[in-house]
Symmetry: C2
Subunit: 302 residues, 2 copies
């Protein structure tokens, strides 16, 4: 229902002069204060984003904030704070009481606030007859370079990704470090045309970026960096193209900037060119022998 | 578990220089931008804050934002925007699909954004195997008068409440209009020492206000304004003292300011003096014949 609901939202939620980007980017930019702030929210629930009692409560708490920080990274904003709302199962989780459950979630969360120097600005914690649900809203500051958005990519721009993709379900979706530092460094040093984080799958997210740029996109499939966790799976490339929850950065930059970034390799992680924006709409793939065929869009629609 | 969890939070969530009030007021004040902003979040779930399929989805959507606006009113902040996260039951609600459920929730919500001129800045909507959960984070701007906080009340201050209290469960908890305009008008025209909204019950919330002011409080029980919905119930006064979800303002002002406000009656709703802050800790009640006895704290602990 995600696609239909977003269409309804775009038609019915009024535009606002203080909300220059409107809905549809990784986060909202609010221009009513100085510096401008970026706001994003994600809701995680048991059975969808994690599975209890198997998954570790501290990792779940950490993830609830990390996915939001990844959205702030996608906008190249400096993370500043978060509010945290939790609906706790009345019976607790496994051997843990509701109180212990809440504390363990917070312990995971606070490990990340400490790492990024951000504040918990409030929250709401209730018990209910239902599965665990955590909703985090994070906010950050736009830098002097302005926000990095999904728009602004041009035909011929090169597509770069940080790190490697695929197989996140085997653990990376819990232990990833949001690419906040990487996004801020790249945004400061280089002219980035457009960017987002890869949360729902490379092809699905790339189709969104390309669409916002009024372009199509061509993926050099043999250049897509495949994560260790996916490398030995059958159809490893398909995992890299569609698994999602990679929380890596996807960027569009001019060919000259791409050359500079690839030469400098300025990040602690790798950064790879995986394709380009095209004037042919839709997604395309090019294999190492130069053949171009349509690329199926796969990913995680909520 | 609310009390224990808040104690844990106060001990474990680090203070932050940009968060002058810390945790514990109706909302957080973030001083990292100009003007300063106020942030608050509330999570509503089926079976706790509303009951499906009996309750109207549009009223539930409206309430999810209204309770947050009441928190902004409690800080005398100008509401500006909100983000909305919804966990939808996979089977929908009654005859309504998940998509229709989400739309009806939003229709209620948008009626209130239109009334207060605020923007929806984003959201996250998922389906899950569990009851409906809505989490709204709202933000607003601090006025030139600064935020209205729970601190600052002094011994001898008079306690004022807007409107009337009790019996909210019979409908008012869905159709109340958050006291935003009232709070802004009073905060601009008069010197308010402390304030909050009454969400968990007059006595419980008053005990919190008094505690933040390092005072006790005396309630003139015969002066407590009882809402129509509670007037004909047995123990009507007890409903007014403890039902909660009234979403009225509770203010502490000097005796001189109380006289001015009560004389001016500057609001479209009534405003009534119901007691005073005392140097005796705890809550006390005084009946019309002048007898003082301890007042039991009742209310809604989540």
């Amino acid at each position: 229902m995600e696609v239909e609901f977003h269409r309804w939202l775009r038609e019915h939620v009024p535009a606002h002069p203080s909300l220059p980007l409107g809905l549809g980017d990784d986060a909202a930019v609010w221009s009513g204060v100085r510096p401008e702030i970026v706001i994003t929210t994600d809701l995680l629930s048991d059975g969808v984003d994690f599975r209890l009692p198997c998954d570790d409560l501290r990792l779940i708490g950490r993830k609830s904030l990390a996915v939001n920080l990844s959205d702030l990274a996608a906008m190249a904003a400096v993370p500043t704070g978060a509010v945290v709302s939790i609906a706790l199962p009345r019976a607790g989780v496994g051997p843990h009481s509701p109180l212990d459950t809440a504390i363990m979630l917070y312990e995971g969360l606070l490990s990340l606030t400490a790492e990024f120097g951000i504040m918990i600005a409030g929250g709401d914690t209730n018990t209910q007859d239902g599965p665990l649900v955590i909703s985090v809203t994070a906010f950050g500051l736009v830098t002097e370079r302005g926000p990095l958005t999904r728009r602004g990519g041009r035909v011929g721009d090169k597509l770069l990704v940080t790190g490697s993709l695929g197989g996140s379900i085997f653990g990376h979706h819990f232990d990833f470090t949001p690419r906040v530092r990487e996004a801020l460094l790249l945004h400061e040093r280089y002219d980035l045309h457009a960017g987002m984080d890869i949360s729902d799958g490379l092809t699905l997210d790339l189709s969104r970026l390309a669409s916002e740029c009024d372009c199509g996109a061509l993926v050099y499939t043999s250049d897509v960096p495949i994560a260790k966790a996916a490398k030995h799976l059958p159809d490893a490339l398909q995992h890299a193209l569609g698994d999602g929850e990679d929380f890596e950065l996807l960027l569009a930059v001019s060919p000259e900037v791409a050359i500079a970034i690839l030469r400098d390799q300025p990040l602690a992680c790798s950064i790879t060119c995986i394709g380009e924006l095209t004037n042919e709409n839709g997604l395309w793939q090019q294999t190492s022998d130069g053949t171009r065929t349509p690329l199926e869009i796969r990913g995680w629609l909520h």
